[in-house]
Symmetry: C2
Subunit: 110 residues, 2 copies
């Protein structure tokens, strides 16, 4: 498992991204009305809307990890080709496990 991003809840993705760009020189990686992804000096920060996703921390994982640790979980496909599942820690904090089925050798590092 390799850290991928932290996702924060935003009521207005555009407003959030503008603030991070203006105040902290973030780079925009993706933006629409329900999802945003920025980079802050090499670290990815996502924005999710209250009705779509919970705030979470995301780790990228590979197939071996899924087979060993998440074989009972259902992975939901995303529009970008990846898929993921969410679990909750003892306090209800959300952890997303992100999998890229066609990423090939890059997943060897996880």
């Amino acid at each position: 498992m390799v850290f991928d991003h932290v996702a924060l809840v935003s009521k207005d993705i555009s407003n959030s991204i503008d603030w991070y760009v203006k105040e902290w020189s973030a780079k925009i990686l993706y933006q629409d009305e329900t999802w945003g992804l920025i980079e802050l000096n090499g670290t990815k920060l996502a924005f999710v809307t209250p009705n779509q996703h919970p705030a979470h921390i995301c780790f990228e994982i590979n197939e071996k990890f899924i087979l060993e640790k998440l074989n009972k979980n259902t992975f939901k496909p995303h529009r970008d080709g990846s898929s993921s599942c969410y679990i909750r820690d003892p306090d209800g904090n959300f952890i997303e496990f992100l999998f890229w089925p066609n990423k090939g050798e890059k997943n060897e590092r996880t």
Copy 2:
């Protein structure tokens, strides 16, 4: 600014850390009753109690960054020699900026 850690709220630091160690092979970096710090494959995850700190994302910064961007903020010293301040984004999400006054050249990277 360089990503340092994500902090999640935990009602029971010991219980949270046990779960991350057992389920996800986390390493314990620090633990007491009000604060915990673990490493998940190179990424630091902190646990804070509801009354002590908010959930947050933390970036380490250097003196130049403070002078340029945070010169109106008050930095609170910690018991480990570091100091930090918190700001909030437009949605109220907390960002901690962490400064190590005596870290020397290592801060040149931020």
